[in-house]
């Protein structure tokens, strides 16, 4: 099959335009209609609903979706595994375990940080070192050992989550279940700004190395004899993908499928060149998640369907479709 050829600038420009458009339009979608005149006149409550709730939530969706899709694209290239996601290497399960423990023990705030956030970051950080340590043999790091260590530790964390969950009372248990679905909520501005800064800097670092991920996608020996420093590339890639995934999971819970579906869909359209795939994954992943969240809050208003459930609704059938239509792409 011939790959449809559209120039790279057109794809990146188009994706960026959609991203901007989503940021402008999606805040106006929600359970309560906003009055234009009041918004224009900066009058409450419409103005503050728009600014503090809807806009902050849309921005969180845009950057969280972007971070997850980019981390997915990165791990798919780095591990040469078409089914790799930001969660494959265990970091987000580690973050979930930390968050679940924080909920189970009612740690609302610890040292001024929201308990769930702190727990998730600590969990992710610990898992990062465990996986890295388990994957390094004789000072060597390979993507297959990283993948195996990640999957093994992933399942241990998942078992621990079930254990903690089964030992908690009914109200914590509900909070844990809800958190594990994943979803977007308005966050306070300083937290949002910090998150956006982390995502932007990490994503820029990852995308800048796109040629290196292209080489690694072919093979480690291939990359090494074309000037890449494989061990350094694998550890920085793992670290960067983990920062993206952990920071996101800490704020949104483990939202599934964005990290798998977006790079996959685009790889079929654009081909596997990460110089094009990565920026487009970031931009369109953001649009997808923010869009799913807007659908979730509009479709059964005033009830809300968490974005994590909507992405899974789209992701599951997509995966089946992919299997049926020769998912080798």
């Amino acid at each position: 099959m011939l790959v449809r050829r559209v120039s790279a600038p057109a794809w990146i420009g188009g994706s960026a335009a959609l991203f901007m458009l989503a940021a402008c339009v999606l805040p106006f979608i929600g359970p309560s209609r906003l009055d234009w005149a009041r918004v224009w006149g900066s009058q409450d409550p419409d103005w503050s609903i728009l600014l503090n709730l809807r806009l902050s939530r849309t921005l969180l969706g845009l950057f969280a979706g972007g971070a997850l899709a980019l981390a997915g694209a990165l791990f798919q290239s780095m591990l040469r595994d078409a089914l790799a996601t930001p969660y494959t290497l265990g970091v987000s399960t580690g973050a979930s375990l930390g968050a679940v423990i924080a909920i189970a023990f009612d740690w609302h705030t610890v040292a001024g940080i929201a308990g769930i956030w702190g727990g998730a970051l600590i969990g992710a950080g610990l898992i990062l070192f465990v996986v890295m340590g388990a994957a390094t043999r004789h000072g060597q790091l390979s993507s297959s050992s990283l993948l195996l260590a990640g999957i093994a530790i992933n399942s241990v964390c998942a078992a621990l989550i079930l254990l903690v969950h089964s030992l908690t009372g009914i109200s914590q248990s509900f909070a844990i279940s809800r958190w594990l679905i994943g979803g977007l909520d308005a966050v306070e501005r300083p937290t949002l700004m910090l998150y956006v800064a982390i995502v932007l800097v990490t994503s820029a670092l990852v995308i800048r190395q796109a040629r290196q991920w292209n080489l690694l996608a072919v093979g480690e020996a291939w990359a090494a004899t074309r000037g890449a420093q494989v061990r350094r590339a694998l550890s920085t890639g793992y670290l960067a993908g983990s920062v993206l995934a952990a920071a996101t999971v800490a704020l949104t819970g483990p939202i599934g499928f964005v990290g798998l579906v977006v790079p996959h869909l685009l790889r079929g359209r654009l081909g596997g060149d990460d110089r094009l795939l990565m920026p487009c994954s970031f931009l369109l992943g953001g649009v997808l998640l923010a869009g799913c969240d807007a659908i979730g809050r509009a479709i059964l208003a005033p009830a809300e369907i968490p974005a994590g459930a909507i992405t899974a609704f789209i992701g599951g059938p997509y995966l089946i479709w992919m299997i049926r239509h020769g998912g080798t792409r």
């Binding site: 072919v218 081909g271 596997g272 060149d273 080798t328």
Partner: protein, 256 residues
């Protein structure tokens, strides 16, 4: 005689756990040479190539590339001088053939997208490897042999002066095997130092300038192709059922 491009000195390699795979291997490969690395399965052919490519750290001895020890080269600089084609490469890659060949240009410039000159070089090598026609195809849709030609083109696009190929002709049909080896021979004739692992005695005798036979963890035989034809005793390192026949119409390898 010209200065060797590759100088392999008393190289030994042992896996972290297990017996030696290579012991005391020394070879010089000069410009214009095309060396066939031959030997039975498990004789250490790929290991030797990996050591020369810098993919494995030798446990003894060392390799110099263009007069400089291999580990003193910066990886990017080294990739401009030395190209390596691994034996097994990914088949399910969703990248266009042309994009893959352009990877050979990565070490030559730090810029994000390749220049028109890079594209011209890529097309020129794809033409030589007879794969230009599928430059817009996705690699996962190509057959094994077609993909192998694309990978070979990607190696040539590096324009390296040392070319290391691990079984480059294995998946190719007979015509493409000949094409592959004559392309590499042409690179040697232009001044590259080439090494290829192969099991095909015929291809080696037809296109290579020198044969290196590995057996018992070391070099069992290191001869020019002319000498190999005159004294075929080296064939016993592979099998007792192969012989070389010479007649008025040429030379052929006979299997029994």
């Amino acid at each position: 005689m010209s200065v060797p491009t590759l100088r392999v000195r008393q190289v030994g390699w042992r896996p972290p756990a297990g017996p030696d795979v290579l012991q005391n291997v020394s070879i010089d490969v000069r410009p214009n040479e095309f060396v066939a690395i031959m030997g039975r399965n498990g004789a250490g052919k790929s290991t030797l190539l990996d050591v020369i490519a810098g993919l494995r750290q030798p446990t003894h001895g060392g390799v110099t590339l263009a007069g400089r020890p291999l580990d003193e080269w910066h990886p990017t600089e080294r990739a401009r001088v030395l190209a390596h084609l691994p034996q097994m490469l990914r088949a399910d890659l969703s990248m266009r053939a042309e994009a893959l060949v352009l990877m050979g240009r990565y070490p030559h410039a730090a810029r994000w997208f390749e220049s028109d000159e890079d594209l011209r070089i890529a097309h020129e090598v794809m033409e030589r490897c007879e794969c230009l026609e599928f430059r817009q195809r996705t690699l996962s849709t190509l057959s094994g042999g077609e993909r192998q030609r694309v990978y070979l083109a990607a190696c040539l696009a590096q324009q390296a002066s040392a070319l290391l190929l691990d079984e480059p002709a294995t998946f190719l049909d007979v015509d493409q095997q000949l094409q592959c080896f004559s392309v590499v021979r042409a690179e040697a004739d232009r001044g590259a130092a080439c090494m290829a692992v192969t099991h095909d005695v015929n291809l080696a005798l037809t296109f290579c300038t020198r044969l290196v036979v590995l057996a018992d963890r070391g070099i069992a035989k290191d001869v020019s192709v002319e000498a190999a034809l005159d004294d075929p005793s080296w064939l016993r390192a592979f099998s007792s059922r192969v012989s070389i026949e010479r007649g008025p119409s040429g030379t052929w390898v006979r299997y029994q």
